[in-house]
Amino acid sequence: MTGYVGRRLLQLGPTLFGMSVVIFLMVRLMPGDVVDVLTGGDVSITPEQRDAIKRSLGLDQPLPVQYVHWIFGMVTGDPGFSLRSHEPVYTILGRALPITVELVVMAIVISVLIGIPLGVASATRANSAGDFGARVGGLMGLSMPSFWLATLILLFTSLVFQWVPAVSYEPFLKDPLTNLSQMILPALSISVFVIAIVMRMTRATMLEVLKQDYVRTARAKGGTRRSVTYRHALRNALIPVVTVVGFQVGTLMSGAAIVEVIFGLPGVGYTLIQAIFGRDYTLVETTTMLLASIFVVLNLLVDLAYVVIDPRIKVQ
């Protein structure tokens, strides 16, 4: 176990380093640069003026030097300033990250609360009309893009109820009710995909587990249908479901980007999209690196949790 964890932790360093190089280069390879955006492509700007802007932004340094400055700043807690607004990048992300985290957490909670009971119900009533309905619903959930669903939900509530979530973001600690009313629709929009995955995975593993000997034994011992399903079958069926939910955090974060734009929530995804259009290198690089790091660390944690939950992994 210790060796496995050690190996996985050792892989983390090179993975993050490789990611940082790829992110840095990809951002710098984007056509157009921040100077073009700042000048609006104004061709009356002289080469000297362009050089002056580049110098003021630190973009006159060789790329390896810029990379070292950035990565050193990331590690020491100061990756620099937004090239467009000159706000410290960590100030911007400090504002945006809690919104996205709240959105993703809410989406996971919704997915689990809806997906698992649906999956269980579907498995225990396999091939019934209810099972068929849940499976078709799951297929639809997998097929519907979150941005389309988000737009549809917004238009529906505005047309039918003459209501949309409050337009200015209110932090949870400041006004919990307003905050929840703002976050529930976007969270629902991005969770539908994960609800479908959780439901299908729960159904499949439950069907598998329900055929196992220990379930038959539990039934033979006179256990009630409810206790056999939830105490014996579901607990074992949940192991792969937990893993899948963990892996979906990345999907939810990327799904959050477009939904944040639609609902006007100033989260990380929205910030990143704005930064990409503005060629705000420092902000794009740091935000992408942050998201990628979260993804990698979460994957690691899921892997480790899997080992803890399922002892057979250690043997393999």
């Binding site: 984007m30 056509p31 157009g32 640069d33 100077v35 073009d36 955006v37 700042l38 000048t39 609006g40 492509g41 104004d42 061709v43 009356s44 700007i45 003026q49 002056a52 802007i53 003021s56 467009r84 607004s85 000159h86 706000e87 911007i92 504002r95 945006a96 737009t151 917004l154 238009l155 509530t157 505005s158 047309l159 109820f161 003459q162 209501w163 949309v164 409050a166 337009v167 200015s168 973001y169 734009v261 639609i262 609902f263 006007g264 929530l265 100033p266 929205y270 910030t271 704005q274 259009f277 503005g278 060629r279």
Partner: protein
């Protein structure tokens, strides 16, 4: 499409107020950009003080700093905070603002007399020192500004404080763009001395404008409160304004329908959909952002469009009304190099339609034949991907040019990539959009200043350069009008750029909102005078 109300009466009233204000400048100068068109306005009536409204912005301002490059969306964020020495009214007539009058003792000097008793949001009184401080920073913008805005700034040699309420501007050369630059206000906001040391100008601001900034949360909202000591009483009428950033158009539509926001800018299609909603009013107005095609001509490349007749053929093969009908649902106008709505400078619509920009396929074919290209040629056209209308217009142009056997390949690009190619001149031709300028010279100066970049393989006629020089050096509007007419005629003979159409901007507002109008400048200036019932 909702109800429009053209308020010519209000214009006349403003004109008489201007006279009463005793602006000392020569009357002719007041017409520096005098305009005959007026924008539809929400219903007037007796303004009511108090109340609040929420306005949806389609883009985050990014920062509020008043000096340096100010993209239009940035100005949406700071136009309620900062005032300039002069201002345009909604018909682009220059009006006094922080300067109550000015004199021009010679063609190199402007002396501005400041309004007395004007207060900044921090309670300090406006003086000549503040004007000098601001113009020093306009000409040397600190971060987040940069020198990239200097191309928009007139040729100011020095700014001197004559006394507490008098400031003298000395120009490097005669430059008639000075007054329009000040009235435009985009780059000429006045801030108090040392503001950049006292606050963070990225998210805060101290000006003399009608509203005080309460907070700016980037990517989310800006909130403003009424500045009771504003110099231009009885403005503002509103107690609070909230600007919410809602980049998604359907989100703005939903927010308007539900009443969560009181007004927003929308596409023509969305505006039409909301036209049937009785609680909403649709406003539309022209802006300066006309669409055009632009060529590059490089030495040694010998591209077909290096021949003037080919460029003329392309212009005559384009059916502009078809573009207006197919892309802009019938709402649009022909545009010359100075867009319709920009005072008396544009060429009359009838002349454009029946002469300079006439759709004449036979003439186009004849010109192509004369140039030796009756079999056509392939051509790559860049377009801006968003907003989508420019790529849609390019598709329509492609169909038109097939009639003269030009095979157009369209490459939509995001704005950053497009700007890069445009700035480097690395394109054959592109379909692009122009923006507002403080002076007519801004629409034509590039035919000299950018010739080395876009047309190094072509000799732009010297008459064009001469007319551009004369235009910018001539302060009297009556003398400038014929110069710019002649200049546009010469440019429409050359067709190094082919003007296409001027398009309308749509803003949908709640019926309780009054006095709002679509500003030709593409700003939301109507919010300064808006009130709610």
């Amino acid at each position: 499409m909702g109800d429009y109300r053209v308020t010519r009466r209000e214009l006349l009233r403003q004109g008489s107020l201007l006279t009463a204000a005793g602006l000392l400048a020569p009357a002719a100068l007041l017409e520096a950009c005098g305009n005959t068109s007026s924008s539809p306005t929400t219903t007037g009536g007796t303004p009511r003080a108090g109340g609040s409204l929420t306005w949806a912005l389609e883009q985050d301002p990014t920062y509020l700093a008043p000096f340096g490059p100010i993209p239009t969306s940035n100005h949406w964020g700071n136009e309620l905070i900062y005032d300039s020495l002069l201002q345009w009214d909604k018909n682009l007539t220059i009006q006094p603002a922080l300067a109550e009058s000015y004199t021009t003792p010679d063609n190199l000097t402007y002396i501005f007399k400041l309004r007395q008793g004007v207060k900044f949001h921090n309670g300090n009184e406006l003086t000549g020192d503040d004007v000098k401080y601001s113009f020093d920073l306009i000409r040397n913008p600190p971060p987040p500004g940069s020198v990239s805005s200097l191309g928009q700034v007139p040729a100011i040699a020095s700014v001197d404080v004559v006394d507490k309420y008098t400031v003298r501007f000395t120009m490097k050369k005669p430059d008639a763009s000075m007054l329009g630059f000040l009235a435009w206000g985009r780059y000429s906001g006045i801030a108090p001395v040392d503001m950049y040391r006292q606050i963070n100008p990225v998210t805060q601001g101290i000006g003399t404008g009608p509203m005080k900034l309460v907070e700016y949360i980037p990517n989310d909202h800006l909130s403003f409160t009424r500045f009771a000591d504003h110099w231009n009483k009885p403005l503002p009428y509103l107690d609070q304004i909230l600007m919410k950033v809602l980049p998604d158009e359907q989100a703005r539509v939903a927010a308007l329908r539900s009443g969560a926001v009181d007004g927003a800018t929308l596409s023509a299609d969305s505006a039409r959909v909301l036209g049937g909603d009785k609680s909403l009013v649709v406003l539309k107005g022209l802006t300066a952002a006309f669409r055009e095609i632009q060529f590059t001509i490089k030495p040694g490349e010998n591209k077909p469009w290096a021949d003037k007749r080919v460029r003329q053929a392309i212009s005559h093969a384009i059916n502009r009304q078809d573009i207006i009908d197919k892309v802009y649902a019938g709402d649009g106008k022909y545009s010359g190099f100075i867009p319709p709505g920009y005072g008396k400078y544009p060429i009359a619509d009838a002349d454009l339609v029946s002469n300079y920009l006439k759709f004449d396929l036979n003439k186009a074919k004849q010109l192509m034949s004369d140039a030796g290209f009756s079999n056509g040629f392939p051509m790559t056209m860049l377009s801006i991907a968003a907003p989508a209308d420019m790529t849609q217009a390019a598709e329509v142009v492609k169909q038109h040019l097939q009639q003269i056997k030009i095979d157009v390949s369209i490459q939509p690009q995001d704005i950053g990539t497009f700007a890069k190619n445009n700035g480097n001149g690395t394109f054959d031709c592109d379909l692009t959009s122009r923006g507002m300028r403080g002076d007519p010279n801004g629409f034509v100066a590039e035919f000299v200043s950018n010739a080395r970049l876009w047309w190094p393989g072509y000799q732009v006629p010297s008459t064009i350069a001469d007319l551009i020089s004369r235009g910018v050096a001539t302060p009297q509007p009556d003398q400038r009008y014929p110069i710019y007419t002649q200049l546009q005629q010469a440019l429409m003979d050359e067709m190094l750029e082919i003007p296409l159409v001027a398009v309308y901007k749509y803003q949908v507002v709640n019926r309780r909102m009054h006095n709002m109008y679509v500003a030709f400048t593409d700003f939301n200036t109507g919010l300064k005078q808006a009130w709610v019932s």
